[in-house]
């Protein structure tokens, strides 16, 4: 019998485990995938000439085993071990409504391959549902989250600049990474041409300097390699393996089991409370149960919904914690993939080192107190960078041979700017995860059916991203402007959210203000599933803040004997 079970060892589960362990709870983390070791399992030592096939996964294998995962930019032979084989982990989507579900099943989950961009949501984001009526009103506001953002930022280490923007609150930052000369020029010109826009350096979960509490965990400063998605042996970016799980481990309160797929949450029919979870061993398919006084689901947005829906019983025929019928609904991702690039005349300088971070242009439409100038609600931000065209494009985008070609590629290329929009997707109950009526995976667990599509508001945001992106590049004098108009299928932003939303009203939400299931007082959900709206900021920091906050309240409730 454990005090707490945490299902999932990724971004949210790692922080939930750390916080619960540090509060003295004997905690079991259950990971469905295999064990990975920080450092020993990574591929970051591979030199460019040591990467198998120059990075290319064999084409037939890619088509057979990774038709979905291959859509993610970070998939290569250097990172192949971190992605699921779609052929082994199928799911269903309706005809004509693709959803790209990008996953990694191993200890640490997607915290190993994440993009590391780290932003707070603001008061505006947490009020959005209440103001325009889409989705359930968040039961918390910025003031509830702010101390937990502080707490998590200090622990994980976030590099960034203080900007004083209401729509993107500042945090507890380590020194910001610098902009290169062309980016400084871009910032000056864009901010002059568009006074409502701010161009800032990205905020990222990298240690630009270490603090003693990072060093105690064996973490080192960023080496500017940009090999991050291979895993970082320096522990320079926050992941469960480099940071949260080691912190949990040193309390002496942590137990980890891997290769154990959670099938369902077990409840006591008399009390309605969770008593533990049922798991299936991924290798032997043997079934086991684990018992605990509280359960945290951090199995990722779709995985968590799958477990709840599969925790059916006579008492809860449509799944656990689902009296509202909201489990699986309001699935969101960020609008992603639409953007612009162009060649820009810039300063005659170069840079040294590969900065694993770009520029950010925070949301500038529909800000509180301003008259809306657009035909959509909510908004988007831009993410991008300026860098010199690299050898690959210099060599392959134009003809040429021999000595002349060598001379062309040898010199740093021209400056290029590229920016993509990350837009808010509205919560919509029809965007939904359900269980397949008959198909099961090789462990006998019903497949998920993901029915999710962009709506009218998202399409209007896409149009505006393109118009504004182009205008911005024109303002800096870009030539050869290329536009990527095609919106990616939802899912490919890899910011799935919303399938067990927080809310004030148990009739239209799954979780209360403490991420506690309205229906099951000792069940907490703190991954992306909890999100009542998506904002347009990269969401991991918010999952971590919610996880830490819920762990605090859960342990207080346990002490008080109320759960």
């Amino acid at each position: 019998m454990f005090d707490a079970i945490v299902v999932g060892s990724g971004m949210s589960g790692g922080i939930a485990a750390k916080e619960l362990c540090e509060r003295g709870l004997k905690t079991l983390v259950i990971e469905r995938g295999r064990k990975l070791e920080h450092g020993a399992s990574y591929t970051d030592s591979l030199q460019p000439w040591e990467v198998p096939n120059g990075g290319g996964i064999p084409e037939e294998e890619l088509a057979r085993d990774y038709p979905i995962q291959r859509q993610c930019y970070a998939v290569s032979t250097a990172t192949q071990q971190y992605w699921v084989k779609d052929s082994e982990h199928p799911y269903e989507t309706p005809e004509g409504k693709p959803f790209s579900w990008i996953r990694g099943y191993h200890l640490g989950g997607r915290s190993i391959m994440w993009g590391r961009q780290t932003y707070r949501m603001s008061e505006m984001d947490l009020q959005a549902n209440a103001l325009d009526g889409h989705g359930a009103d968040w039961p918390i506001r910025y003031a509830d989250l702010a101390p937990w953002y502080d707490h998590v930022e200090r622990f994980i280490g976030v590099s960034g600049s203080r900007e004083g923007l209401d729509q993107l609150p500042d945090g507890e930052f380590l020194p910001a990474m610098p902009m290169n000369d062309a980016e400084k020029m871009f910032k000056a010109k864009v901010e002059q041409a568009f006074p409502d826009r701010k161009v800032i350096i990205g905020r990222c979960a990298h240690l630009t300097e270490t603090r003693p509490h990072h060093e105690e965990l064996g973490r080192n400063p960023c080496q500017y390699r940009s090999l991050c998605e291979r895993g970082c042996s320096y522990g320079a970016y926050h992941s469960s393996l480099s940071s949260s799980l080691p912190a949990a481990e040193r309390t002496g309160n942590l137990t980890i089991v891997t290769d154990s797929i959670v099938h369902s949450v077990i409840t006591d029919p008399k009390t309605g409370k969770a008593t533990g979870v049922r798991v299936i061993d991924q290798n032997t398919r043997e079934a086991r149960t684990y018992d605990a006084r509280i359960v945290f689901l951090c199995a990722s947005t779709i995985g968590t919904a799958q477990i709840l829906l599969n925790s059916r019983s006579d008492k809860n025929p449509r799944g656990l914690a689902n009296s509202s019928d909201m489990v699986g609904r309001n699935l969101m991702d960020h609008i992603y993939g639409v953007g612009v690039s162009g060649t820009v005349q810039g300063p005659d300088t170069y840079y040294r080192g590969r900065r694993p971070n770009g520029l950010y242009i925070p949301r500038f439409y529909n800000l509180p107190g301003k008259q809306s100038e657009v035909d959509f609600i909510r908004g988007f931000g831009f993410q991008g960078a300026m860098q010199r065209v690299n050898w690959r494009q210099m060599a392959t985008s134009q003809p040429g041979i021999g000595e002349e070609l060598k001379a062309r590629v040898r010199k740093p290329g021209p400056w290029m700017a590229f920016f993509g929009g990350f837009g808010e997707m509205l919560p919509n109950p029809d965007n939904r995860v359900t269980l397949h009526a008959s198909k099961v995976d090789k462990w006998g667990i019903p497949l998920v059916n993901i029915d999710c599509t962009h709506g009218e508001n998202e399409k209007k945001i896409v149009s505006r991203i393109l118009v504004d992106g182009k205008a911005m590049l024109e303002a800096v004098g870009a030539t050869n402007i290329q536009v990527r108009e095609k919106i990616n299928p939802p899912g490919l932003g890899i910011h799935e959210m919303g399938t067990a939303c927080m809310g004030k009203d148990p009739r239209n939400s799954v979780l209360n203000a403490y991420n506690q299931a309205h229906d099951v007082p000792n069940l907490f959900i703190t991954d992306g599933a909890a999100m009542a709206s998506s904002g347009c900021q990269n969401p991991s920091l918010t999952y971590m803040a919610l996880s830490a906050r819920a762990a605090f309240h859960a342990s207080e409730f346990m002490k008080a004997g109320t759960i």
């Binding site: 030592s45 030199q47 460019p48 000439w49 990467v51 198998p52 096939n53 120059g54 290319g56 996964i57 064999p58 084409e59 037939e60 088509a63 990474m177 610098p178 902009m179 290169n180 000369d181 080496q223 500017y224 390699r225 940009s226 090999l227 300063p347 005659d348 300088t349 170069y350 840079y351 040294r352 080192g353 590969r354 900065r355 694993p356 971070n357 770009g358 960078a385 860098q387 010199r388 690299n390 050898w391 690959r392 210099m394 060599a395 392959t396 134009q398 003809p399 040429g400 041979i401 021999g402 000595e403 070609l405 060598k406 590629v409 040898r410 010199k411 740093p412 290329g413």
Partner: protein
Amino acid sequence: MQASALNRRETLGGLAALLGASTLPADVLAKAAKADVRLPAPIQSLASAYADTLMPRTDTPGAVDAGVPRLFAALLADWASPQTRASVLEALQKIDGAAGTGGFAAKSAAQRRAMLAPYDQANFADTGYRRLRELMLVLYYSSEPGATVELRYEHAPGAFEPSVPITAQTRAWAGAGYI
């Protein structure tokens, strides 16, 4: 020139024989067995001649010095789908055909250069040719000589210096771009 280039795949097969097959794990043996998948000699010489003309030895190593022809053969065996392999090999053979009597590989370096420069321009839009060219170039610039002697590469720069003056000696960075 190709004869002198060390064939890693042959070496691996030879290693298995040397150590005694039973001491090697199954996946290594499986990979070694695939070492039989080699390009026929005339196609291998053609690939070498093309790579050498595209990226010749100058004051820095060329594609052949960097082992690109054997890496190319390995890529076709280990990575390419049958369609890609066919299209890339067809592109190579078209170069050979356009070279006239005796074929491309038999010509002098100067003759190959004179023939390939306009051919490269004229066929740049051809998918198969573009792919062939790209594979050779990516292999060259990702190789150790390509990345570190022709270009510059630091595996762990240790810092980000945002403003470095460009001089006549400045070389482009190899490896991935940042972000």
